[in-house]
């Protein structure tokens, strides 16, 4: 049984969050998202000319995402460059973003999203997605909504939110379920599952994910507005 969490958190408690936009001066938009020991930095460039040319779509734009873990982000040095896992995460991020961004407004153009993980302690794909959506909003792209992503999971018999690496490696068996939402539309744009859960447990996990994603969504909105608080003064 998993009665108390390793870091003494509540089952539905997130790790401390830091959010910031405008961290990469040369990019059109950028954001940094830190949750506990996981930190992602996202930068967005474009819309620009599509390269390579054969990817071009004449009726809508495309998103190219590059996710990479920095060599020093994990205890054992990560080999620089894109490996199989990086390719998978790049794909799920660009798929989720293409649901949020109104791509039909940029025919035959390309939006490039670069996400780098500077520190990893589980939940990096969720952190990347949240940072990437903030960066897109900062870049002034037309979007249906921001994305709020959170990893929920099952440890022992308990459904918990925002697993750390130590919890993922828990001996009694742990299941990792990253979920991403468009909170104001209540739409799921990413749902992955690594491990074993029953149908009821998955429903409970999604319910918990929705609740936690809304918390992150409020923080995202506050962080975006923080830089421009003077504007609302008439």
């Amino acid at each position: 049984m998993y009665e108390e969490r390793l870091d003494k958190r509540q089952f539905d408690e997130l790790r401390p969050i830091e959010l910031e936009t405008g961290v990469v001066p040369n990019a059109n938009g950028s954001a940094r998202f830190k949750i506990g020991g996981t930190e992602a930095i996202a930068a967005v460039y474009g819309p620009a000319e599509v390269k390579p040319k054969h990817l071009e779509k004449s009726d809508q734009g495309i998103i190219i995402c590059k996710y990479d873990m920095m060599p020093f982000s994990v205890p054992d040095r990560a080999k620089p460059g894109i490996d199989r896992r990086d390719m998978e995460i790049s794909l799920v991020i660009s798929n989720a973003l293409s649901r949020a961004i109104m791509l039909e407004e940029f025919p035959s153009s390309m939006i490039s999203v670069y996400v780098y993980i500077t520190q990893a302690d589980a939940g990096t794909r969720c952190a990347s997605l949240t940072a990437a959506s903030m960066a897109c909003a900062d870049a002034g792209l037309p979007m249906r909504d921001l994305i709020a992503a959170v990893a929920v999971g099952k440890i022992g018999d308990s459904i918990v939110a925002d697993l750390s690496k130590a919890e993922e490696d828990y001996e009694g068996g742990a299941t990792d379920i990253p979920i991403a939402f468009l909170p104001s539309k209540d739409e799921i744009v990413l749902l992955q599952l690594d491990g074993e859960v029953s149908k009821d447990e998955l429903k409970k996990a999604i319910e918990l994910g929705r609740k936690e994603a809304n918390k992150i969504y409020e923080l995202e909105k506050a962080a975006l507005k923080r830089r421009f608080t003077y504007e609302s003064k008439d």
Binding site: N28, G46, P47, A137, G140, L141, K221, R227, S232
Partner: protein, 228 residues
């Protein structure tokens, strides 16, 4: 019902109203109006509009822009206006009245041109025009990049800000809607304009920008007086 006030900062996906008509920068789903951009709300009598705070320039018909000649082709110039696609400036827009064998005699790669967007294609590629009098090649001088969404701040209310800059720095200033300003004058004046545009760009959400701009211009005037 309306959920926002005038000049509120909103994020994409934020619900603005559950009835009424959405203006620019908004989209409607299930009769509810949502913001499309990260920007500020501008309410007028009939519509709710959202103006972006950041963003790349998207070409629009009728916009006056400043571009650089990127390539000279047989019958047209390709112009770089800082968008996703090069613009096309047709040779007959040059209105010379006679046939030109080599277009680079008129404008060569690297020359700066002031022109109007006359047509935007479906894929955001656009054509430029020079007809209408004041368009054409600009003498080589300083170009300043700024956030294209901030152009109304650089112009100011009824042109107060741009007139202030022109009068005090004694420079010719031409603004392109694509986020490029062409500045011509003496060296110190151009530096003052550059500093002023950067200040407007970075502090456009603060209250008193014209005070800051005046400060820069005052410093410039006193430096100039000292030099004389």
């Amino acid at each position: 019902m309306l959920f926002v006030k005038n000049y509120d900062v909103v994020t994409p996906g934020e619900m603005l109203a559950d009835e009424g008509v959405g203006g620019s920068g908004t989209y409607t789903e299930d009769k509810k109006i949502f913001s499309k951009y990260f920007g500020t709300v501008i309410l007028n009598k009939d519509w709710i509009n959202v103006t972006q705070l950041n963003g790349a320039y998207i070409p629009k018909e009728g916009d006056e822009i400043i571009g650089k000649i990127a390539a000279v082709e047989g019958t047209y110039w390709a112009v770089d206006i800082d968008t996703s696609h090069y613009c096309r400036l047709d040779a007959r827009e040059a209105n010379t009245g006679y046939r030109i064998e080599d277009l680079s005699e008129l404008m060569d790669v690297g020359d700066v041109v002031y022109a109007k967007i006359i047509r935007v294609g479906k894929d955001l590629s656009s054509s430029l025009g020079l007809r209408g009098g004041r368009y054409g090649k600009l003498p080589a001088s300083m170009l300043v990049r700024f956030n294209p969404m901030k152009i109304s701040r650089i112009i100011g209310k009824e042109g107060t800000m741009i007139n202030l800059l022109r009068e005090r720095s004694k420079c010719d200033i031409l603004l392109g809607k694509n986020g490029v300003a062409w500045v011509n004058g003496d060296k110190m004046g151009m530096e003052a304009v550059l500093a002023a545009i950067n200040v407007i760009d970075e502090n456009s959400y603060m209250g008193d920008i014209s005070g800051k701009v005046r400060e820069i211009l005052d410093r410039y005037t006193s430096q100039k007086n000292n030099a004389e």
